[in-house]
Amino acid sequence: MSELFPVFLALTVLVGGVAGAAILTWWERRLLGIWQDRYGPNRLGPFGIGQVLADMLKLLFKDDWVPPFSDKLVFIFAPIAIVMAMMIGFAVVPFAPGVVIIDVNIGLLFFLGMTSLAVYSVLLGGLASNNKYALLGGLRSAAQMVSYEVFMGLSLMGIIMMTGSFSLVDIVEAQSEVWFCFSQFLGLLVFVIAGIAESHRLPFDLPEAEHELTAGFHTEYGGMKFAMFMLGEYLGLMLISCMITTLFFGGWHGPVLIGEWLPPIVWFGLKVFMVINFFILLRAAIPRPRYDQLMSLGWKVMLPITLVNLVVTGAVLLWRT
């Protein structure tokens, strides 16, 4: 039983991740609709949730076309890579006490590595398409992700210092009293912004900025390959939300003032849900920055904030000892 449990959990996460991403497409459109004073897809099934099935059906029956001018092998590999990377990233997320696929002592580094691998997907997809819009999208994603990766990692170092461990389970357990969102507020701020840039969601979806680059890196993609990119994006959204919950909002712990009267997995799910909603709210509210604004925000604002956070956290920890 105990040997099979991680396998069972992995399958659950696989199915749940895909289903969750599918439902998120609908949920996001409904939420955006509400915030833009309209309804969104509400026709098919209760509350329009059948829209998910309709979209899936439509994408499945689309022509699976590979452009003859593209680098075919890489073209097909790119959408698979993003889903794979994001799925593997879920392996270290602690959903509840004991409910984690693998509790490795480098969990956080593993997560950072997997999200970095997702860059390859976008970059290769853009390059292999052999299309100038796709190339520009890929180029942007490479620059954006590489620069945001820097302080995405650095913003978490405060937590590492306070916990003394890279294991995500240890990090959650260290937050049983006070969540890191208070002591590491700057870290949270930077990590959220870097997380959006990393999962290239709006407002930082420069790689696929549709008003200037048609569809950016997935201009040439259609049908299920396009769906894989979308799946990867929504998986990335969920993964980042899971990580924000785990690292800054106490993972499976209930809020201190209210207590733990719900099962840990429910607390975790609720928090992830709230973070996802917040990401969708950002999409509804904030316009996309210009490309140079994105870069200067990264290097001139985010990086100094991260370094200050790092130094202050280190100083406080040293002063306490």
Binding site: I34, D37, L281, A285, I286
Partner: protein, 171 residues
């Protein structure tokens, strides 16, 4: 930064506002009486066709969707032999209605004219004619115009003075 946060807050407040959407097939929007929809040909209060086949509507039409052919009745009045509107071309701009000197062609608040067959979008005169006067209940072109027809002589129309004898010297 403050303005960004304010934007986020203002958007969040929209969770509590009512959606503007009208759920169309179940609930229909109010269309004003002067809404520009499906085109009809009206009749005068006596029940005769108002259209005098002057071709001004066809000339005014920016997409050339109106086609008609003039014919003359025995009493000297004009009428369209055929009158055809291709609604798959029509853009409901209402210029024909503005051009019409006899209030014959009018636009109605009806836009639900979907068809599966493109040919079904071509409306002939019998489809366009309605048994009513439309927006102008009392208007009858041949009663107010100065035109001499078998139905009325010069000077017999409504609000029309007797014709002046230009060859007479009397005041």
């Amino acid at each position: 930064m403050i303005s960004q946060l304010r934007t986020i807050w203002r958007v969040l407040l929209h969770s509590f506002t009512k959606a503007e959407t009208v759920q169309y097939p179940e609930e229909k929007p109010y269309l004003a009486p002067r809404y520009r929809g499906r085109i009809v040909l009206t009749r005068d209060p006596d029940g005769e066709e108002r259209c005098v086949a002057c071709n001004l509507c066809a000339a005014a039409c920016p997409v050339d969707c109106i086609a008609l052919q003039k014919d003359t009745r025995e009493d000297g009045t004009w009428y369209p032999e055929f009158f055809r509107i291709n609604f798959s071309r029509c853009i409901m701009c209402g210029m024909c209605e503005e051009a019409c000197p006899t209030y014959a062609i009018q636009l109605t608040p009806d836009f639900e004219m979907c068809e599966y067959d493109r040919q079904s979008m071509v409306y002939e005169k019998e489809h366009l004619l309605i048994n009513g006067v439309g927006k102008y209940p009392d208007y009858n072109f041949y009663r107010v115009s100065g035109l001499q027809t078998a139905t009325k002589d010069k000077g017999e129309g409504d609000m029309e003075a007797e014709p002046i004898n230009v060859k007479s010297l009397l005041p």
